[in-house]
Amino acid sequence: MAHRWGMVVDLDSCTGCEACVTACHAENNIPTVGPTEAARGRAMHWLRVERYWEGDFPDVKVKFKPVMCQHCDNAPCEAVCPTYASHQTDEGLNAQVYNRCIGTRYCANACSYNVRFFNFFNPQWEKPLQLQLNPDVSVREVGVMEKCTFCVQRIKAGKTAAKAEDRELKDGDIQPACAQSCPTGSIIFGDLNDHESRAARFTHSPRGTKLLEDEGTAPKVTYLQRQSWNEPDTQ
């Protein structure tokens, strides 16, 4: 059976430390735009930790969740792209083909989760920082859209390695950078078609919710809600 890649984020164990954000930047050659451009709203965090504050001091509550591309089954970003740069692969990933992108930015507008980012300028790395670039991931030029790919380069590498070793892929063989770097193991990635995988089992957890579920986008990232042990009746 074909793979169907999905992710589960356990908001109970997530501490909001943003190690995943940093790891994503490092793995995927995401440019750092600098303070001026960041102030203009051009920062590119494929994976971000959203924070919402509720209430006034001293009863302040903060809720946070890591948000990345949800790789929706009914992705609103795909049909609007005039050049098929955004489309769904056979394994359920929402692919962004940089070479087809002409930069209309329609996909970014259509995405309800705002997880798509645009290269407003050519990315630059001051020497010797270019030595840190990941050779498995392309560097995008000015004018193209980019977003979380579920570390497709690692998926490809994992499948290639399994094939070379003449074995099946096991759950846990493929870890995107965010899942790999999470200190509490809150990000779980796996094959939703493999019913034994952790990702597939946690997707059906009673704590599981989807972000903006009533938009009808059918996202493949499931968020497991926090259980607060000193407020047993609250969600």
Partner: protein
């Protein structure tokens, strides 16, 4: 028709082509400089990247898309006046049709530049066109941007032909009145037109068919432009009313632009004998009608949103009515509804200066309307963490001003080389018409008869 050797009609309308004043050269120079500044701003953006504009995350569309929709909207002037009035045989349309059709042609050309300017990689703009590429990839016909390509090109080709066909007899007239190089050029443009009855019959039949065809095309064009927004899940974009709302708004802004253009031409080319206060009065009544229609659509849309009280939509709603965009919103309402209805409802106030003033307000108000559709929705989408704001930057403003200058420049150049009022249609209009019923008129014209 002219029954004497003296042709004051033709004399008056050909004179601007043959005599050039110093104001013309000065005007062309000033406008061309502004257009050059716009080209420089675009070159700057091409070199450094889209980052020189003000768009950001999450407001990825701003001034360029506003101007795109605005100019395509302005282009609906020609169609309404020319095609619909032609079909209902309204006699007062005759001096107005070519002015209107010229606005359509140039507004479309200018509007069609913006989809290229707003691209991250504009040198690849042709990838939205269906052609067999070496990548074996065709455009995605599900994308509203590809629909835009087909719609705008069809409308542009149709409008240009609608404009150029009735110019052929006028080119023949100019050919017969000039000598030397001018005569050769106009002679070539006239395509050897003699004015035989066969040629007139076929030209008028072609114009009739084009008038019928161009109206649904125009309606579809701005509906498809509205689909750029209504097909996305952005709050207050995903609305079924957008198609008719945009078309009504387009016709509204188009009539306003036409009134301004006609008033300018009347003053500069001294066409007082041909563009009468009656023409402006009639157009003012249409403008009033469109203002009321616009108000109706805005009220319908806003009432539905307010009544539904959906949080994601209400965030956008309040940001326009009370929040950061409130000054623009209320200016728009005053310019598009309060002022037009107050002034144009009274015959005494429907003077040419009054109507032109109202029209200028409408042009401003309709530009604001496009802006207020695009930016507030994108600023406040579903996830509040990603709310943002937008401010235009110099490159966008310079390019916008340059497009207004380009419109004026193209219009000036056109009125220098082609009579801005259709001479042969004016002559037909001056023929005495006996009162006939519609059936008799059609029978006599025999336009709908086709014998094998």
């Amino acid at each position: 028709m002219n029954r004497t050797r003296n042709n004051p009609l033709a004399d008056d309308l050909v004179r601007p082509l043959l005599h050039t004043s110093v104001w013309f050269y000065g005007g062309v120079l000033v406008l061309a400089s502004i257009v050059a500044c716009g080209a420089a701003a675009w070159a700057y953006q091409l070199w450094y990247g889209m980052g020189v504009a003000g768009v950001n995350w999450p407001v990825f569309w701003g001034f360029y898309e506003t101007n795109f929709v605005f100019w395509i909207g302005i282009s609906h002037a020609g169609t309404l006046i020319s095609a619909i009035l032609r079909l209902v045989n309204a006699r007062w349309r005759r001096p107005v049709t070519r002015c209107a059709e010229v606005i359509t042609a140039f507004a479309l050309m200018i509007g069609a530049i913006f989809p290229i300017v707003h691209l991250g990689k504009p040198w690849l703009f042709f990838w939205v066109a269906p052609y067999p590429s070496s990548r074996e990839l065709w455009p995605n016909f599900r994308s509203p941007l590809v629909w835009d390509f087909f719609a705008i090109n069809t409308y542009l080709i149709g409008s240009l032909l609608f404009l150029i066909l009735p110019m052929i007899p006028d080119f023949a007239l100019i050919r017969d009145r000039t000598t030397g190089r001018r005569q050769r050029i106009y002679g070539a443009l006239a395509l050897g037109w003699q004015g035989t009855t066969t040629q007139w019959h076929r030209l008028e039949a072609a114009m009739q068919i084009m008038a019928v065809a161009i109206i649904p095309v125009a309606v579809s064009v701005h509906t498809i432009v509205s689909f750029d927004f209504s097909m996305a899940h952005v709050p207050m974009w995903h609305s079924t009313i957008f198609g008719p709302y945009f078309v009504a708004g387009a016709i509204f802004s188009g009539i306003a632009a036409l009134i301004i253009a006609m008033a300018a031409l009347r003053r500069m080319l001294k066409l007082h004998a041909y563009l009468h206060p009656l023409h402006f009065d009639n157009l003012a009544k249409l403008l009033l009608l469109m203002s009321l229609l616009w108000g109706y659509f805005v009220f319908s849309e806003r009432l539905t949103v307010w009544y539904g009280n959906v949080p994601t939509e209400m965030a956008v709603f309040w940001s326009t009515q009370r929040g950061a965009f409130a000054p623009f919103y209320w200016t728009m309402v005053v310019c598009n509804f309060v002022i037009p209805v107050s002034i144009l409802s009274f015959r005494r106030l429907r003077t040419i200066p009054g109507v032109v003033l109202v029209s200028c307000g409408v042009v401003v108000g309709m530009w604001l309307e496009r802006f207020l559709i695009i930016v507030p929705g994108l600023s406040t989408k579903q996830l509040p963490y990603s709310w943002g704001h937008y401010a235009p930057r110099p490159a966008e403003v310079v390019i916008m001003v340059a497009t207004f200058a380009a419109m004026a420049l193209l219009y000036m150049l056109f009125s220098k080389f082609v009579p801005i009022i259709s001479i042969w249609e004016m002559k037909v209009g001056n023929q005495p018409h006996p009162a006939v019923s519609a059936d008799e008129d059609e029978e006599r014209q025999g336009l709908w008869r086709a014998r094998p």
